[in-house]
């Protein structure tokens, strides 16, 4: 499910074309009839994609919340990147990052 959403993200990026300055994309479409969930995509300037899957039973999160969450995610991600020992592509093991993500999720739930 995440992979299909990745495909959609790529599609979106390619359609955007040159106007890649626009970081934000809010894709609210993968809503299957049976499993209702929403997938949000976010692309950074370095083409790093964040995909967030939200259960729709949670009365819809507002757009702003999603955006802020992505922003925080992006910030934490850059902090993780700063670590020279981190190889891009590895699983992120930063505790600060994990705690931020967890707090975000708890806040939503």
């Amino acid at each position: 499910m995440v992979h299909t959403s990745l495909d959609v993200v790529d599609e979106k990026i390619s359609t955007m074309g040159k106007a890649l300055v626009d970081q934000r994309e809010l894709y609210l479409g993968l809503l299957y009839p049976t499993e209702d969930y929403k997938v949000y995509g976010y692309v950074t300037n370095s083409k790093v994609k964040f995909v967030m899957v939200v259960d729709s039973s949670n009365t819809a999160l507002r757009d702003n919340e999603i955006r802020s969450m992505f922003r925080k995610l992006h910030n934490s991600y850059t902090d993780v990147m700063c670590n020279p020992f981190y190889n891009p592509g590895d699983r992120i093991q930063s505790r600060a990052f994990d705690s931020m993500v967890t707090s975000m999720m708890i806040q939503v739930c």
């Binding site: 850059t78 902090d79 993780v80 990147m81 700063c82 670590n83 020279p84 020992f85 981190y86 093991q93 930063s94 505790r95 600060a96």
Partner: protein, 647 residues
């Protein structure tokens, strides 16, 4: 001298401490104060230089101590306020003692108020046996009678002293238990007889305490000492770590019992880190880039996730670079980790960049300081260096920097080249080594290896010396190996113009190598090879055999051509080169050490050649297969065409 209680708390009668309490409290205060030597305790030290000559008790250890009393946080806050520490901003002895008494009061269920301390109170109990004192104090509780009390206290004092020693030696829980053994059912307050006994004691000894305290009935909880067990463990670790860190005269009392201690950087450590920083980045006020730091810390042989975590902790501003305090913190964490300490969840307060910057003034970058430091270390490092020099080749260096680095300190620049790691622990271990190692100073100038970093040096990132990149396909055969060995010693021996026979046709394998071979060096070898091949072929390795058999199979378009080509030039050059090689031989002969070296180099070359040959072999096999396939294809074509032609 401070009289009575501090202003905030002592509006009433002066603070009276019993003899035992005085001792206990003074011990505790000394411990807390000792921990504050790093400067964490603000406040006028002179005010605290009352009895123990120690500075004010640091907030950290004091807080820990209070927490160990297992009182709720609000109570502790109240106590802190009451004793006046908040008001004056530090824990002077008065405040400390008052606080301890308040703790005792709270523990016995009395409300936390100034009045509480006026009545007799049991000694405060602290569950974390960081301070044996408290636990011991729990014990004098069982004062059944005045007379009993006195000897008890005496023995306690003795055990107290003993405990202090053992403090460092991690044997706390066992000693605790005997003291704790007497079960305590809270005896009713027996003011009169006890006070009597106490006053006797009090009068007996003079202590520079704020006033003596009225007698009280201490309460004892046996579980106090038992809980000392787990508490003892962190102490143990700390003690070991601290010992390892401290070089000889170290500040052991400072580093005793507080969980903060492992994260507190001592002066020596600080200097060391600063030196390391300098080796990486000459400007102390600027920072080390991430990649540089990464390479540096990778040499510590910690796992990447751990290093990553340490970085995360120490790079407070997440800018991908380490300033000096950040670097020190990171280094300290690494060192601690290597000593077996678990990494903290968060950056300890003593490792915060602001703290580090405040606590330690900008280090003096003068040679004098460095020299003094390096001298102290150099002796330690010398023996190691020597060992290292012998064991490892010079090429290997680039290890974690070592304090020794330069004995004289001139080659600070050289340090950058010779980075070896010497954990302070190692340094301390080295401190015992004899000073005669100073004679070795001259040697390790270029490369110094640190103590334990022996193994580390070996393990460290630096690869073993790569064989010289000479593409010396010198020997086509293993035989050449023997040939070389034989040749070199024999050449000097013969001394005659033992020219290898002119290379007729070196065996096929030679040419195949010689494709890639470089010239002059190989040629003499090649020359030797054929001669030896003729002589010793049966004795050769399979490689040589495998190659000849493979040859006939080959259609050898290329190999043959190449071989012929190589043959001729090699033949031509063989003569002059062989002559050239002969000439140096007489000189070699004169120095046996050179011979050995030559032999060793020859061995190395041979090995390289062998490796190359093996590779060549596999490549040629590959080619052979391809050629086979081509052949088959061609034959098929031929057959297909034949009927056509026939027809």
């Amino acid at each position: 001298m401070e009289t009575a209680a501090g202003g905030g708390c002592g509006s009433g009668p002066p603070l009276l401490l019993s003899e035992g309490e005085q001792q206990c409290y003074s011990e505790l205060f000394a411990r807390c104060a000792g921990a504050a030597s790093g400067g964490a305790g603000p406040g006028p030290p002179e005010a605290a230089r009352v009895s123990l000559g120690a500075a004010t008790a640091a907030a950290g250890p004091v807080a820990d101590l209070f927490r160990a009393s297992q009182l709720p946080a609000e109570t502790l806050h109240q106590i802190t306020e009451l004793c006046g520490a908040k008001r004056v901003g530090y824990f002077g002895p008065t405040q400390f003692y008052v606080a301890l008494k308040l703790i005792a009061a709270a523990q016995s269920g009395l409300p936390v108020r100034i009045e509480s301390i006026k009545c007799e109170l049991p000694l405060p109990r602290f569950m974390m046996s960081k301070n044996d004192g408290e636990i011991r104090f729990g014990n004098p509780a069982e004062l059944h009678g005045t007379k009993v009390q006195i000897p008890y206290l005496t023995t306690e004092k003795n055990s107290f002293k003993r405990m202090d020693d053992e403090d460092k030696q991690e044997a706390q829980s066992p000693t605790m238990s005997p003291l704790a053994s007497p079960p305590s059912s809270p005896p009713p307050y027996q003011r009169v007889p006890l006070s009597h006994g106490y006053s006797k004691l009090r009068s007996g000894t003079e202590q520079m305490h704020p006033a003596p305290y009225e007698a009280r009935q201490p309460l004892v909880q046996p579980e106090g000492p038992s809980s000392g067990g787990p508490g003892a463990k962190p102490l143990r670790h700390q003690a070991s770590l601290i010992r390892s860190f401290s070089v000889e005269r170290e500040l052991q009392d400072n580093n005793s019992n507080y969980p903060d201690e492992p994260w507190r950087i001592t002066e020596e450590q600080r200097e060391y880190y600063v030196n390391q920083f300098r080796s990486l980045q000459p400007d102390p006020s600027s920072f080390i880039s991430g990649s540089v730091a990464k390479n540096f810390f990778t040499k510590s042989k910690l796992s990447i996730p751990e290093l990553s975590y340490i970085w995360e902790l120490s790079d407070a501003d997440c800018d991908g670079a380490l300033t000096l305090p950040e670097f020190c913190a990171a280094f300290h964490l690494i060192v601690a980790r290597k000593n077996g300490y678990p990494l903290p969840e968060g950056l300890p307060p003593t490792l915060q960049p602001e703290y580090l910057q405040a606590a330690f003034p900008k280090p003096k970058w003068d040679c004098a300081l460095f020299e003094s430091y390096s001298e102290s270390m150099s002796a330690n490092q010398q023996p190691r260096d020597l060992n290292r020099m012998e064991k490892t080749s010079v090429k290997d260096v680039a290890d974690f920097p070592v304090p020794t680095q330069d004995v004289t300190g001139d080659d600070k620049q050289a340090l950058k080249n010779t980075i070896n790691e010497a954990l302070p622990k190692d340094v301390s271990e080295d401190s015992a080594t004899p000073k005669d190692s100073n004679s070795l100073k001259a040697r390790p100038r270029s490369r110094s290896y640190s103590s334990t970093s022996i193994e580390e040096a070996m393990k460290r990132g630096e690869d073993p010396p790569t064989p010289p990149p000479r593409p010396q396909k010198t020997h086509s055969r293993a035989s050449s190996l023997d040939l070389n060995k034989v040749f070199q010693p024999t050449v000097p021996a013969t001394k005659s113009g033992l020219l290898p026979p002119p290379p007729a046709l070196p065996p096929r394998p030679c040419p195949s190598q010689s494709e890639q071979v470089s010239e002059t060096e190989l040629l003499p070898q090649l020359n030797r090879v054929p001669s030896q091949a003729a002589e010793c072929s049966p004795a050769k390795k399979d490689v040589s055999y495998s190659q000849p058999p493979s040859k006939p199979i080959r259609r050898k378009f290329r190999p043959e051509n190449q071989s012929t080509e190589n043959q001729e030039p090699s033949t031509a050059a063989g003569g002059p080169t062989s002559v050239a090689t002969v000439k140096p031989h007489p000189t070699v002969q004169k120095q046996s050490s050179k011979q050995k070296k030559a032999i060793q180099t020859a061995i190395r070359k041979n090995k390289e050649a062998n490796a190359v040959l093996a590779r060549l072999n596999s490549e040629l096999q590959q080619q052979l297969k391809e050629v086979h396939q081509e052949r088959i294809a061609l034959e098929n074509q031929l057959e297909q065409l034949r009927p056509v032609t026939v027809l």
